[in-house]
């Protein structure tokens, strides 16, 4: 299980202050923005290992728009399902995940597909991330005497160790920290080539999508950097919501806002607003 909402229970990601939506025609929540922006990163024909929540919504949205041949993998052992609108699974391990799948395998087998190299993109949420893309979903505070014991890695560590990663999460200072309290899922560890040196030559952080913008990682230092800002978000706002020095290029492009079609598909998928409130 890859946690999308580990910090809050149940995590309802709120629309950030930075988002002035009054004059933009389609109003949307921060979660909807996250799902739409993430979906646009997925390409036709890819295989994506998706966690429940925003990653799953984004993957289905991609499937229903520009990437009908996108293959979704679930940690429960599911290859290529079509999740039914209004029947989102409570985790990636229940039968709802299997509807119209191409193949069901054991958990171990589906994770070994990552190791074998059959997965293009790993896609999950995160509770805490640092400059080098390391993720924490295990402990807030000192692991020996934690303030909060979070649910843990699930498949997150395996996915982040073995695939190119997209992470979707809320952009807050307490989540974007200089150094995570505990590396549950490895990003680039201490940057540079420390990841490969640890025995992880493949995969790594590709994109971090938040309600404020889209981040990538420097090719050499492996430090996080802004690639694009969402409509209405300033460089100042994104820096103010980040707990480490996050470079924002002066010419950072602005993303296209979610379309009516994208939003209507999302709302049909999740009519109870379990993940998009």
């Amino acid at each position: 299980m890859t946690t999308d909402s580990a910090l809050d229970a149940p995590a309802r990601i709120q629309a950030p202050d930075a988002l002035p939506a009054p004059d933009a025609p389609p109003a949307y929540t921060a979660s909807e923005l996250l799902a739409v922006m993430s979906a646009r990163l997925l390409k036709e024909g890819q295989t994506v290992f998706a966690g429940v929540g925003i990653p799953l919504l984004a993957a289905i949205l991609a499937q229903k728009t520009r990437a009908p041949g996108l293959t979704i993998l679930f940690e429960g052992g599911v290859i290529g399902p079509f999740v039914e609108a209004g029947k989102l699974p409570p985790s990636t391990n229940e039968q709802r995940c299997t509807r119209r799948a191409n193949m069901l395998v054991s958990i171990t087998e589906v994770l070994l597909m990552l190791q074998r190299g059959y997965v293009d993109v790993g896609f999950m949420g995160g509770a805490q991330i640092d400059r080098f893309g390391n993720l924490n979903s295990s402990f807030i505070g000192d692991p020996a005497h934690p303030k909060i014991r979070l649910p843990g890695t699930g498949g997150g560590n395996d996915i982040a160790s073995l695939a190119d990663m997209i992470v979707a999460m809320k952009h807050e200072k307490r989540r974007f920290v200089e150094k995570v309290d505990f590396i549950t899922s490895p990003g680039f560890l201490d940057g540079g080539d420390t990841r490969a040196q640890a025995g992880l030559p493949a995969g790594g952080m590709f994109r971090v999508v938040t309600d404020l913008g889209i981040m990538g990682f420097d090719a050499v230092t492996k430090a996080m950097t802004v690639l694009a800002l969402h409509p209405g978000v300033t460089a100042q706002a994104i820096k103010a919501n980040t707990g480490f020095d996050l470079p924002v290029p002066a010419d950072a492009p602005v993303t296209e806002p979610p379309t009516e079609l994208e939003l209507s598909i999302l709302r049909e998928l999740d009519p109870q607003r379990l993940y998009t409130a």
């Binding site: 299980m1 229970a9 039968q95 498949g155």
Partner: protein, 329 residues
């Protein structure tokens, strides 16, 4: 530490692995579990959780178990709160994403009264698989560089809890690469719920099999609970559908709706209203809430049917309606 091979072989040799009728009651099956055993639990999260057997073990007041599972949901709360176990081994533990972080898990682990030994999901799978294969470890390529590894083996996050099994890194003698060797897990007892099996324990599993096939092969004893017991003749008509072989199985217990309030693939989905109720009961005072829940659903009902009655007929019918429609148009 994985078992020495001679010990593993001796344990297996000492079992009666013959083709024989193993049908018994939940109470009889519970006697196969000893205090202090390592218990492995089949299924994953809210799927094919062998709740009827867990119910019987709680009622039999087992103590000091170490319990492992791919991913733990509400049954993990039950293990802690009932006193059955203070040491769970898994990759993820909470009621489920939609219900947020488990308050009961937090209460027990943050106070240091119970251990939650965390491995990556693939590591859990390969540890069972190593046990199933009769080798002391399997090599893998994740967990490396992370604090998840450090915590179970010592490392950058400080010394590991000595109660945790250690993983070891190695340099591959063929390629020179760094690999992680995860130690085999050979549980003393596995409890697994299946859709159907014969009296000998030949089980057919539909849908998602999770880590159950490896767990059954790895364990020293296997207790199957099953929605239905079918004849051996029925099994022999489709031998390629048998997923767990009789030779691994020590007990067969027929328990319809044996996963309630979790799901059994193709038959019933999770009992969502009951799961919501449990979340509410444990939201404010997790420990008192869990005690109340145990009293009302584990100790007061006399039979599994009583337990199901307390969950409620309308809930059961709804879960079955949803569960049997998975592949409908």
């Amino acid at each position: 530490m994985p078992l020495a091979y001679s010990e593993l072989r001796q344990r297996t040799k000492a079992r009666d692995r013959s083709l024989r009728d193993k049908v018994m009651s939940l109470e009889e099956a519970a006697k196969l579990v000893q205090d202090g055993d390592h218990l492995a639990v089949g299924g994953c999260t809210a799927s094919r959780t062998p709740f009827a057997m867990i119910w019987a073990l709680v009622r039999a007041q087992k103590r000091g178990l170490t319990v492992s599972r791919s991913i733990m949901s509400t049954e993990g709360d039950i293990f802690y709160a009932s006193g059955l176990s203070q040491h769970l081994i898994t990759s993820w533990f909470s009621q489920g994403i939609v219900w947020g972080v488990s308050k009961v898990m937090r209460a027990y682990t943050e106070s240091g009264r119970a251990r939650f030994e965390e491995w990556s999901h693939m590591a859990m799978g390969l540890r069972y698989r190593a046990g199933a294969m009769g080798v002391p470890f399997l090599p893998m390529r994740s967990m490396l560089g992370s604090d998840v590894l450090g915590r179970v083996s010592g490392g950058s996050a400080g010394p590991a809890d000595p109660a945790f099994a250690a993983a070891k890194t190695m340099e591959c003698p063929f390629t020179g690469e760094t690999l992680l060797l995860v130690p085999a897990l050979n549980p003393d007892v596995a409890i697994i719920h299946v859709q159907r099996c014969d009296p000998y324990g030949n089980a057919q599993l539909d849908g998602l099999t999770f880590m159950d096939i490896d767990i059954a092969m790895a364990a020293n004893k296997v207790i199957l609970t099953t929605e239905r017991v079918v004849s051996n003749e029925q099994i022999r008509r489709q031998p390629d559908q048998t997923k767990i072989g009789f030779f691994t199985v020590d007990a067969v217990v027929e328990v319809p709706f044996g996963c309630a309030p979790h799901e059994c693939y193709g038959l019933y989905e999770p009992f969502y209203s009951h799961m919501d109720m449990y979340a509410q009961m444990t939201a404010r005072d997790p420990e008192a809430g869990a005690r109340d829940y145990l009293e009302r659903f584990y100790h007061e009902p006399k039979t599994w049917a009583d337990y199901l009655s307390r969950i409620g007929m309308a809930e059961l019918i709804d879960a079955q309606r949803r569960g049997s429609a998975i592949h409908d148009d």
